[in-house]
């Protein structure tokens, strides 16, 4: 009996509590609704209070609607984005083509500049400019072919130069092309003058030194004091190469017990493996 009474009492309390909770919720909802209605009220206090109450709801609402609008914009604009993407890709292709064209123009420009430099440096010669087509196929010689020949006034044994100095000579010639044997080739010998002491010597190509872009200076006069950094100019002896063309620079002097056997290593003024244009001295 006692148990039953306790049970009823608890039940009544629960019902009371739930009623209070219900009324509170209704009141809160009513206040919120009322504040939505009165948020534009002329009375400042009511307006401020309603704004304070509705602010969190406004914030939540704005966030949700913002999210929805961005998603709808994303799906709405996707077609436009695709079209824009295609246009941009086209523009990128066009720009890439333009870059390639500009590179070609730059290459041509540098090539013409090199030729101009050669012509300016060696104004006193009549020159014919040529481009290197192919280089030697074997591992022993050091030659190349240029795109000018008999038709352009090229003859055998004419000197071939670059803006920095002597490159070689014409070793064979056909109507439209010529073969140039460079000073690095073991078959080539150039009579040179050592600048600081004005003494003659012979600069020869050498198989062992060829790959290091170096030459061998032989027949150095016994009493000549040669040192590293001395410039070598063509002496004009043998009449194949004109006088005073820069040929190379001494990089190492090798002395031996016998003074007549000493020699020097020289580096050509022109980096022959990297050039692509040369000029032939016609007159």
């Amino acid at each position: 009996m006692l148990l039953k009474y306790n049970y009823d009492f608890n039940n009544r309390n629960k019902k009371k509590k739930s009623r209070i909770v219900f009324i509170t919720i209704i009141l809160i909802i009513a206040v919120i609704i009322a504040s939505f209605f009165f948020r534009n009220s002329q009375v400042f206090a009511i307006k401020a209070a309603s704004n304070v109450i509705t602010a969190p709801f406004k914030f939540i609402g704005n966030t949700i609607s913002g999210g929805f609008s961005s998603v709808s914009m994303y799906f709405g604009n996707i077609n436009e984005v695709k079209i824009e993407n295609i246009k941009l890709k086209d523009q990128v292709n066009e720009l890439e083509l333009k870059i390639l064209e500009s590179k070609a123009v730059l290459d041509e420009n540098s090539s013409l500049k090199t030729i101009l430099d050669i012509n300016t440096t060696f104004q006193h010669f009549k020159l014919k400019n040529g481009k290197i087509i192919i280089r030697e196929h074997d591992n022993f010689s050091q030659t190349f072919m240029i795109d000018v020949g008999l038709k352009d006034g090229i003859k055998l044994n004419q000197a071939v130069i670059h803006k920095e100095g002597l490159v070689g000579y014409i070793s064979s010639v056909s109507d439209n092309t010529s073969n140039v044997t460079t000073i690095l080739d073991p078959r080539t010998s150039v009579s040179v003058t050592i600048s600081t002491i004005n003494e003659p010597a012979i600069l020869k190509g050498n198989l062992e030194l060829k790959s290091n872009n170096s030459l061998k200076l032989e027949y150095i006069p016994i009493d000549a004091e040669i040192s590293i950094g001395d410039m070598l100019y063509s002496s004009g002896l043998g009449s194949m190469f004109p006088t005073s063309l820069p040929v190379g620079k001494v990089t190492k002097v090798v002395n031996s017990k016998n003074d007549s056997d000493r020699y020097a290593i020289a580096e050509p003024c022109v980096n022959i493996r990297s050039i692509s244009e040369v000029s032939v001295i016609i007159e």
Partner: protein, 171 residues
């Protein structure tokens, strides 16, 4: 018949491509002072796969083109490529042509013959002198480079060989 002519034409085009690649790309730069030679590798492969006659004729053909292009009246390249083609073609019965190991041995051997011939003809014609040690170093480096290139190009050569075999071109 038309199919066979077309197949010869395709192979001719591929070999011309190899030739042009060597002349215009590889020959314009040196690696460790030497140039790898894919024309030589193609001669070795032709001799290894198709025997003495095909190898020698191919060597003669490609050597003549090289000599004409470089204006060599003596025919240094013709002689060198024919000899390499003939020697490798003679030896091909002792090697399995599908084996990469055989290809590397014969590439080294072919490069040695080629470089020795080039060197001695060059020295003989131009009366120049050189240290034999230089030649040995040169041969070692160029053999290694050629073997590496032969391994890289093995797939291409195999495809050409399969194509030629399917069309019964060299038999």
């Amino acid at each position: 018949m038309a199919k066979k002519i077309f197949s010869y034409f395709i192979i001719f085009l591929i070999l011309i491509c190899i030739f042009l690649f060597q002349i215009y790309v590889i020959d314009s730069r040196e690696l460790f002072g030497v140039k790898p030679n894919i024309i030589l590798i193609s001669v070795i492969v032709m001799s290894l796969w198709y025997g003495l006659y095909a190898g020698s004729i191919y060597g003669l053909f490609i050597g003549m083109i090289t000599d004409i292009l470089f204006g060599n009246s003596f025919g240094i390249f013709t002689l060198s490529y024919v000899v390499v083609g003939a020697v490798i073609g003679y030896l091909n019965y002792n090697y399995r042509r599908e084996s990469k190991v055989s290809l590397s041995y014969l590439t080294i051997f072919g490069t040695c013959i080629f470089e020795f011939m080039q060197y001695f003809i060059y020295i003989f014609l131009n009366s120049t002198s050189s240290n034999i040690y230089y030649l040995i170093i040169q041969i070692i480096i160029s053999s290694l480079l050629n073997v590496i290139l032969a391994f890289i190009l093995y797939g291409t050569f195999s495809k050409i060989s399969d194509y030629a075999e399917n069309n019964n071109l060299f038999y």
